[in-house]
Symmetry: C2
Subunit: 415 residues, 2 copies
Amino acid sequence: MNLITQLSEQAANASRSLVNLESETKNRILNQMADKIRKAASLILEANKIDIQHAKENNLPAAMIDRLLLTDERIDIMAKGIEEIAVLADPVGMLREIGEQPNGLKISKMRMPLGVVCMIYEARPNVTADAGALCFKSGNAIILRGGKEAINSSKAIASIMQQTLASFGLPEALITVIPNADRELLMDLMQQREHIDVIIPRGGEGLINFVTDNSKIPVIQHFKGVCHLYIDKYADLDKAIKLLLNGKTQRTGVCNALEGLVVHKDIAEQFLPMAAKVLAEHEVTIHACKQAASYFNNADILADNDFGQEYLDLEIAVKIVDSLQHAMDHIHVNGSNHTEVICTEDLERSQRFQRSVDASVVMVNASSRFSDGSQLGLGAEIGIATTKLHAYGPMGLESLTAEKFLVTGDGHVRS
Amino acid sequence: MNLITQLSEQAANASRSLVNLESETKNRILNQMADKIRKAASLILEANKIDIQHAKENNLPAAMIDRLLLTDERIDIMAKGIEEIAVLADPVGMLREIGEQPNGLKISKMRMPLGVVCMIYEARPNVTADAGALCFKSGNAIILRGGKEAINSSKAIASIMQQTLASFGLPEALITVIPNADRELLMDLMQQREHIDVIIPRGGEGLINFVTDNSKIPVIQHFKGVCHLYIDKYADLDKAIKLLLNGKTQRTGVCNALEGLVVHKDIAEQFLPMAAKVLAEHEVTIHACKQAASYFNNADILADNDFGQEYLDLEIAVKIVDSLQHAMDHIHVNGSNHTEVICTEDLERSQRFQRSVDASVVMVNASSRFSDGSQLGLGAEIGIATTKLHAYGPMGLESLTAEKFLVTGDGHVRS
């Protein structure tokens, strides 16, 4: 049996030890993990130093090195994250009444863990703690396959969590770190249909496509975020400007930043000069349809086919539309099913937008930057799904469970 | 553009026409479909005759020909099935409150259609009507790729449903029948990740594995049904005998029939002689562990590794266990996550079983034969999922939808 099959089987066996663990015990263990991570900060920082040194030797970009870097403060945030997960409601065992059948059979549904979750990710060491804690709380074992850049930090963090598990008599295999980032081991991992229930890749589109193409295990995909803000003809323009600025400039390299601005023609003449002014102040590069371009200095004119790009930078694509329907059509063609926002004071139009737009998060008068598990009341997130199977949007504890049917009779047989 | 890409794209476009269709209108259309199917019975029977003739020429087994065969009565049942779906609650647009965040953002979730569902199935013509109606009601377009055996019947049924759609100004591409059962077209179909949201294969394990291995689209899998009945030491033995007989003999070729009988050692001496008697009356072949075999005439002795078979016939595997935990371990190793039943009068033990056993349907004192969408209050089912991603167990209307987040603010921005 190869190493990966062995680790996966151990994880699957370990996951069964969680089925009947009380929420209270899980929470106590989580709080202790947080404690121990704080106390072992110097050990974690030592391991992180090695990763940072390798990263520098390999001339990784500064942004990546920053993501890799741990500090006392970041370790404290990590520990707090685990404590927050301890406070969240435990979905396992939650019952949902379906009803009593005419023959007296009682039907309900009960939430249960998925089993074994596998995360494939790049260089963020905090994913180890977040994903480890989310999976443990939801009753799942987790297999972590991070990029080689963060491998020493990840192992250090996981090892503290494993020690805590062991001290409560639980198997360390509940949190498994794949020992290296070889492609070969990754390929082996994606064949473990018998032991692993779901793979969640986090990273660039290349990684997602690679995993989707090669995995024999169901994959929850998070493709790009091409988010739009639509300024309706009934928009409050002060709100509109606030949403635009926050969505585009508060942080640019993230999937819930705005990449498109769609404006109703009846309000364009009022709104676009205001927008042009604030975007220029923030040095945002403008791409625009011909009609919109006239409101900006130096706008790059976009052909219809060139909309829909994920800039991840201080750039935005501006489009003037004739109607709400036209706006939704534009979003349908150019969006990525991630997050779409309407700015309007008209309730009926906001409801039409929320009902019709196919995106994992559809907002009214709120910044796209709120599209994030921690901002939506999930406490933390293990990923954001941009396809609709199993989960859609930010995934928290509930997304790490399934519902089984419970049927109770009194000797009922079928005729 | 090849034929399959074209059909898939048309289906995807067509699916958008359903987003804002009122439930009432959908129900009226469904009732009219049922009407028209009844009125066109002679046309459908004519097409069916051709399929039956081909089946006979190709010497298909009698059981398969029976599944293919349509009669006036079966057509009426098909029409009634559509009318029942019209009566069910429409999941699309259903809201679930998530809560208000401290900053005042209101968060909820709304059910929405998946988009395009593709069914790959074998020879049952009624799947065309069932799946067509379920997908229409849940706001999805459907692509039907049936086996060549039923192709003329399927086309006739689909064409009546398409005419009804057209008479209401809706696109016929909402119900698409792949014109032939060539492997090549099937391969093309499984590449349409851009247009098709989910593939649901129904049929033997070979078909499911073939689709899982080749599909680029998420697949909802229904593997085999190896269902057990566990007779606890606190079982009511009259109920136990009823559940055993119904589960094993009422219908044998189906996935929710019993394949295994697990008996607590403390009750074996009382129960197994009764079981042996009724099973012998029904000419059920017995496979058994060494200990259990002594209660039967001519039992075939099974080694530990030989349990877990799907007989689909008048055969059953009998195992004596030492404890409830031992029973659950046996089921974990030999079950197929489909349906598992405990017979006991002890509430605490029944709850432990329901909570611990990983199966899509976990029953207390009820026959495994109830594991079926129509028996569990779903009205109808589009399939039974035996993996936990997206759906687990019989899938009805709700399983054909996803939930998106709705976020409503008042100009909220993130700091």
